[in-house]
Structure formats: structure tokens, C-alpha cells
Amino acid sequence: MAKQNKNLLSGSPRITKVSFLGRVASVFQQHFQQVFSSFSELWKTPFATFMTILVLGVALSLPSVFHVLYKNTVHVTDQWDKASEISLFLNKDISEPRIQVLINKLELYSDIDSVSYISSHQALEEFKEMSGFSKALNYLDENPLPDVLIVVPVEQAMNAAGSKLLVAKLKREQGVELVRVDIDWIEKLQAILSVVVDIVIAIVILLLLSVLLIVSNTIRLNILNQRAEIEVFKLVGATNSFIQRPFLYAGAWYGFLGGVIAWLLTFGLVLSLRSGVNNLMGLYQTQFQISAMSIEEVAILIATATFLGFIASYISVKQYLVKIEPK
């Protein structure tokens, strides 16, 4: 009864055994095929897939929009911060030679780029011109305006901390009545920005968590829908890693496509804001162009989304697929 014949199905005199290298090549080929087959599997239920990707895209677009807004706000405040000048109001009784000595001294400061002098007379003339009260001002017995030195700090000292240090030094100079720097509001803005950033980080964490949950749940449903197939795979000798691969790739695809949608939504938002922001900045005489995400940022967004999708899928696979056993 037991006739040994190893050529039962070979169709050739001897069955072709697959070499080690052949198997390695085949594993890569399998991965390659599974990457693309898992993509086409997604579109067997196009509406459900599209809705899932759209939800992921919206959830991911919020962090990326927050990032773009933050980046641009920081850019704007940097510009305003750097444009700050320090005004030194001098004592009324200071003499011209003493002012010149002070200018020479200030120009030697390493954190001062330039010093310009506006005499009280010059200031009054400018005020008359700008205010339109020239006739009224002519009735004044004496010029009430002080001499002013406009100090522009060097690039390194243009930030809030550097300016503060410089102001402290300038206040100690003889002949200086008052030092004014328009930096307080920037500090307040930065403080508000810092609080906003903390809130945004918390929101971003929640949104990324929601992405994990959405993908994880989608993959869980896919696994449960394909329970019968998974059982057959296990019965014919498939390992868990072989069976789980398409699900992992599907999760990564969800993340990737969600990331692409998020990028497109963010890009669209930036485009729609561009003209409005330009008008607003024009009112402040500031040259500012709202910037979209850079290529590196887009790559990080999509890579993070893909990674999140993969991780979410991995969680579901470990939770559900591994436990399915044939009955």
C-alpha cells in the first residue's frame, strides 16, 4: 500500500527545492506584494475607507495647522522683536557737548549697533508737522520735549532678554532721564503664546490618541470580518507574522493617506489665509508672508501618521488576530 513516490505533484523529475537565497528573495517579494495588495484591499470598501482616511486627515490636520500657526506667529513676533528700538530721553539741562560724549560712549557698547540723536528742537518740529497743532504749539514759552537718543541694539541683543540687559545699563548712564523700550507687549505675547503652546500640545496628544484609536478599531473590525480566512491561513500552516503583515501594512496605509489628507487640508488653509494675513500685516507696515509646511515638515507629518497607523494596527493585531485559533 505504501508506495513511496516523491514526484506526486512535481510535474518534473524532481521537486525544485527553494534555496536559502531564493527564500530570502521570496520573503522580500512577499512583503512587496503584501504592501500593495493591502493597499488595494482598502479600496474594496471605498466609502468606508475614504471616510476613515478623511477622519484621520481631519484629526491630523489640526496638529499640523496648529504647528503652522505657531511657526508663523513666532516668525512675526521675531520680526517685531528685532525691529525694537530703545529711546533714551535725556535730562532737560544736558549740554550739547555732553550729549556728544554720551553718543560716543554708547557707540562703544558691544551690544549697540547704532545711536542717532534727535534734538528737542528737531522733535518739536516733527511733532508740529505730524500733529497739526503747529499754531497752538507756537504759543508755548519753551520747548517741553527733551533731547532723545534712538539706540538700535545689535542683532544678538535684539531679543527680549538682551534688550532688558541693555536697558538696565542705559538707565545707569548720566544724563539719561528715561529709557523706553517697546518690548513689554512682546513679552506678554510670548507668555500668552507659551500658554497656548501648552494647551495645543495637550490637544495634539489627544488628537494623536484619537488617530491611534480610529486605526486600531478599523483594523480590529477588519480582523473580525476576516476571521474565517485567518482560521484557514492558520490551518494550512501560516505563521502569525505572515497573517498579520497585511493588517499592519493596511494600518500604515491608513496613517499614510490620513497624513496626506492632513497636509492637503493644512496647505489649503494656508492658501486661504494668505491674502487676509497680507492685508493685516500691511496695516502694521510689516513685510510678512504666511509660510506653509516645509518639505521636511510634510515628511515628518506623513511619517508620523504612517508610524501611528502601524502602531495602532500592531496593537489590534496583538490583541485580536493572535488569539484567533481554528475551530
Binding site: K3, Q4, L8, G11, T16, V18, V236
Partner: protein, 226 residues
């Protein structure tokens, strides 16, 4: 090929599905496994196909003691056991060729080799030319043949069939059994679980009979009946 030594299987609630079962199916041997519903046939097949573990006793398949096999080794053991089911368990959304080639795909064969050997297997079960069909468009007998082709494609030394003729008419049932006979002639060990005593009586093969989890007979059905 299959060795059962004092195998007991007790499920939760102290339900004893198999009691002290001993038998030995030699390499290249073909046998039937029969018994009424609840006799323990399915449990015995599940133990061989590693879907269940014995509570006590020893099971050796293809020379490997599988009584305490590690979970990670189970897929590799199953690759040496061809399994055929009453409900065929085919992927209805894949072609016949894809269904048959599945075990080779899992083993890492390249597409050329998978196709070549799948076509040979389909030819062997009489389904040449049906490779591009989806199983849903085939008859019950043809679907069973696809299941057989899938089971034998990687030439397992052991073939298990669970009620393979359960949904087929007598003529088709005999055709399927003769297919098993031809596979057995090539050296495969074949164990067929069925409760169709009429079918068993027509064939002259060893029959293992279970009743309430006990092996009550091990011999030729014709001899026992007559």
C-alpha cells in the same frame, strides 16, 4: 505516521471527549474514522491537526511528539498535514489557483513555482482549466476537489479529511474517495473521518470506530459486519 498512546481529552466541566485512545496509523496507510455525533471524531482530528492539546497521553505525528509542542512550532507542523474539510474552507473571493497555491505562498515559494505546482495539483484532482474560476462558480464536488488540491500541493505525508463527502451525492462521494485512494497509492497516509457507514462498507480499508470517546473497534468494516 500517527501514534496515539493512552490519549485522554477532557474539556472544561469534566467532559471527557476521548478516553484512553490508542492506535497507530502507519506511513502510507489509509483508514476511516467513524462514530456517531459526539463520539469524539472531531476531537481526535483536532488533536492531530494541533487545534487541541491532549489532557494526558502521547501523540506522535510524522515522528514528532506533539503532546507538548510549542505554539510557535505549530504552523510548521501543520505544513506536513494536509487537511480537507466538509465545508471546503475556500476563499470565495480568490481564484482556484490562488486557493490551491496558498500553502506554497506561505512557505515562501516564488510565483512561478506556485503556479506550476498548482496547475499540476489541479490536474491531479481533475480540475484542469478551472484555475481562473472563483470557487463560488464551481459545484460542491469541484469545490471539494479544490480543497483536496490545496491539501496535497506541498505533498504532506499525512492527509486528514473531515467528512469530505458530507455534502456530496453518492456518485461524487465515490469519486472523491477514489481520489483519496490514488493519493494513498502515491504514499500518503490518509485518515478520513465520516459517519457514512455505507460508503465505508464499499471500501476495504481499516476503520477506527469511536463511541463516547472510546475506541471500540479497529479493523475492517466488512470483516466486522460479516
Amino acid at each position: 505516521m500517527i501514534l496515539f498512546e493512552e490519549v485522554n481529552k477532557i474539556y472544561a466541566g469534566d467532559f471527557c471527549a476521548l478516553k484512553e485512545v490508542d492506535f497507530h496509523l502507519k506511513q502510507g496507510e489509509m483508514a476511516f474514522l467513524t462514530g456517531h455525533s459526539g463520539s469524539g471524531k472531531s476531537t481526535l482530528l483536532k488533536l492531530i491537526s494541533l487545534m487541541e492539546r491532549p489532557t494526558t497521553g502521547r501523540i506522535v505525528i510524522n515522528g514528532n511528539d506533539i503532546s507538548h509542542i510549542k505554539g510557535n512550532d505549530i504552523p510548521y507542523m501543520r505544513r506536513h498535514i494536509g487537511m480537507i474539510f466538509q465545508d471546503h474552507r475556500l476563499f470565495m473571493n480568490r481564484t482556484v489557483l490562488e486557493n490551491v497555491g496558498l500553502p506554497l505562498l506561505i512557505e515562501g515559494y516564488n510565483q512561478y513555482e506556485i503556479k506550476r505546482r498548482s496547475l499540476v495539483a489541479l490536474d491531479k484532482v481533475g480540475l484542469s482549466g478551472k484555475e481562473d474560476y472563483e470557487p463560488i462558480h464551481l459545484s460542491g464536488g469541484e469545490q471539494q476537489r479544490v480543497g483536496i488540491a490545496r491539501a496535497i500541493i506541498n505533498q504532506p505525508p499525512l492527509l486528514l479529511a473531515d467528512e469530505p463527502t458530507g455534502n456530496l451525492d453518492p456518485k461524487l462521494s465515490l469519486e472523491i474517495l477514489s481520489l483519496f485512494e490514488s493519493l494513498n497509492e502515491f504514499g500518503m497516509s490518509v485518515l478520513i473521518a465520516t459517519h457514512d457507514l455505507g460508503l465505508i462498507a464499499k471500501m476495504r480499508y481499516r476503520t477506527l470506530t469511536l463511541k463516547n470517546g472510546e475506541m471500540i473497534n479497529d479493523g475492517l468494516m466488512r470483516e466486522r459486519n460479516g
